[in-house]
């Protein structure tokens, strides 16, 4: 039997993907539910850049601190393994883990999992042609299992792990499209008062925006402005 609709002049050929993808044989597949101590998050963005360039940015794991919040340093420990170091602003809390690249398909897909340290995590990122060829759709699926130490994640990052994945993807997109990550820290303001200072954290403005660029790096370490 043929399909009932023969006239689809601009229709995409749908990808037949699994894993992080939201599509399985033409049907929407929701992200896995949180259970058994595991937390899942899926996020996607459309970026005006080639899949290969985006793959290369993502695959440059040691450059992750430029777009991951609170990641201080990442260093290579073997051909496919890296050590991640996360620290909060005052330097009170630190999380560290070792991770390995499981799958590496240039221009298409990267998958990883943690080997030791906390939190235990695994993830996959897909680089696909966006609907209607309007850019590259980048989809991340990440899973966390929080241990005793990593319950401190929120204290370190100021966000829950799901929101961290979403914010980091947002930073990645801004950096890929514009060469910088938008920021407002530090900027001038009048007297905040007690309430204003307390509430700042609810807007996520206590979380240092990753550097994105060399200028961002430099200003991130500067103090709260001066007189012109």
């Amino acid at each position: 039997m043929g399909i009932a609709l023969a006239e689809r002049p601009r229709a995409d050929v749908l990808p037949d993907q699994s894993g992080a993808s939201s599509l399985l044989n033409g049907h929407y597949a929701p992200p896995p539910a949180d259970e058994g101590g595991k937390t899942w998050v899926r996020a996607s963005v459309v970026i005006q850049a080639h899949a290969q360039k985006l793959y290369e940015m993502w695959r440059d794991v040691e450059a992750a601190p430029s777009w991951h919040e609170r990641i201080v340093k990442v260093w290579s420990t073997g051909p496919k393994t890296y050590h991640w170091l996360m620290r909060d602003e005052p330097g009170h809390n630190t999380l560290e883990w070792e991770f390995e690249i499981l799958a590496d398909e240039p221009g298409k897909r990267i998958a990883w999992r943690s080997l030791s340290g906390e939190p235990e995590s695994a993830g996959e990122v897909l680089f696909e042609t966006a609907p209607g060829r309007r850019g590259t759709m980048v989809t991340v699926l990440q899973q966390f299992r929080m241990g005793k130490l990593s319950r401190a994640w929120e204290a370190v990052t100021g966000r829950d792990p799901k929101q961290s994945v979403i914010e980091n993807l947002r930073h990645f997109k801004a950096m890929a499209e514009t060469g910088e990550i938008p920021r407002t820290q530090p900027q001038p303001h009048g007297e905040r008062g007690v309430v204003g200072s307390l509430k700042r954290s609810t807007y996520g403005e206590k979380i240092k925006t990753p550097s994105g660029t060399s200028l961002g790096q430099e200003t991130a370490t500067r103090s709260e402005g001066s007189s012109r």
Partner: protein
């Protein structure tokens, strides 16, 4: 430097604060030569917009001289004179490529707050709450302008600041409102609110081919300004005036082809419905007073267009959707896609087709701004538009 700071509902102070600095490679620092108080600043002053914080610097209508540029800004240099659009756009994302600049994906560092409230985040705005980006505003002596490679419009002619300042928001906003009204030659257009945006919507409606424009307001100075550019005026506060009847009377019973709501979420209706909204907002059962919107939906002709430049922020009550459906109307709205209009509207000013400074009633200093917010809110002293010279000293 000196800056006008939001210190709480109905509380504005001019304070001495730190100077802004370059934070990103596409930033510029502008020395502000003229800035203005917008009608939408009153929504902040009156506490209608959430996520304002004590100490936030106000102001999204400003222009000035480039003081310093980041390493990736190649189109501007120190000394250039620029008008800065109030929406911040990156120029690179899907939405900027579609010229939907106000929907830019990349300029709101607090996008998650807007995603929670609206589903998706629009662009960052200057001086308009943390939800809209938390950027310090331009009612100050200096301001940091992100993506200065995309936004600022260079003014190369010797037009005085006052003639081009309103390209920063209200002229393009009024113009896009008229464009959204889908005006055909010979149309009659009704405009609620003859404040600054309403004035430019009226002017733009004529430019785009309207035969008649009807301006609806209650402030005599505003109605006089509207008549001065050719509009018919209706004072809704006059005894025995029904706006719906007036619009039928003026159109032979057809109704206006297009209606423009240049009032937004703080509509004053002065009737039972107005009282109903005031009470419901006070009880937090709705967030916006939508009296004008309801009336405009009722008033527009069958198959007509409703254009909404007036700001709405949250939840509306008793919107006559049946009337909207029954008449088959089109509604268009949203923050202004500023960058599309800057150059064409500058050309209109340069050619002498319009002098936007006609709406200015008050010229003040930064120190006078706090008290002028009250004057502006209460429409005292025949105020129609307040412009600030950030470098002028208080008159003795």
């Amino acid at each position: 430097m000196k800056a006008v700071c939001w210190m709480g509902k109905s509380k504005i102070e001019t304070q001495t604060v730190n100077d802004p600095q370059l934070l990103n490679p596409h930033d510029a620092i502008i020395k502000v030569t003229r800035t203005a108080i917008c009608g939408s600043d009153l929504h902040l002053f009156d506490g209608f917009i959430p996520t304002m914080e004590q100490g936030d610097i106000m102001g999204h209508e400003f222009m000035g001289i480039v003081e310093e540029v980041g390493p990736d800004v190649s189109n501007l240099e120190r000394g250039d004179r620029v008008v800065v659009p109030f929406t911040i756009a990156c120029g690179q994302c899907l939405f900027c490529k579609k010229k939907l600049w106000a929907a830019c994906d990349n300029t709101n560092p607090n996008a998650h707050l807007m995603e929670t409230a609206y589903g998706y985040s629009g662009s960052g705005l200057f001086g308009y709450s943390h939800m809209m980006g938390g950027y310090a505003g331009g009612q100050a002596q200096y301001v940091r302008v992100p993506f200065a490679n995309v936004g600022p419009l260079k003014i190369e002619s010797d037009l005085p600041d006052e003639k081009v300042l309103f390209l920063s928001d209200i002229f393009p906003t009024g113009y896009m409102a008229a464009e959204n009204a889908q005006i055909q030659d010979g149309d009659t257009v009704a405009v609620w609110g003859a404040g600054p945006v309403g004035q430019f919507a009226i002017a733009s409606a004529f430019m785009l081919g309207a035969a008649r424009v009807v301006a609806i307001d209650r402030i005599p100075e505003r109605l006089a300004l509207a008549r001065s550019i050719g509009a018919i005026t209706v004072d809704y506060s006059e005894e025995d005036v029904s706006v719906l009847t007036a619009l039928k009377d003026l159109t032979g019973g057809v109704g206006p082809d297009a209606c423009i709501d240049a009032v937004g979420l703080e509509a004053h209706m002065g009737d039972l419905v107005g009282f109903y909204d005031t009470v419901k907002v006070a009880l937090m059962l709705e967030t916006d007073r939508s009296g004008v919107l309801r009336q405009a939906i009722q008033a527009v002709r069958k198959g007509g267009t409703l254009s909404i430049p007036g700001v709405y922020g949250g939840l509306l009550d008793k919107v006559p959707f049946g009337a909207a459906f029954g008449k088959g109307i089109t509604m268009k709205m949203g923050q202004t896609n500023m960058h599309t209009y800057l150059r064409p509207l500058l050309e209109r000013i340069e050619k002498g087709q319009i002098d936007p400074s006609y709406i200015i009633s008050h010229r003040i200093t930064l120190d006078e701004a706090p008290e002028m917010y009250k004057v502006w809110r209460d429409k005292q002293d025949k105020v129609t538009k307040i412009v600030i010279d950030p470098w002028a000293e208080r008159a003795a």
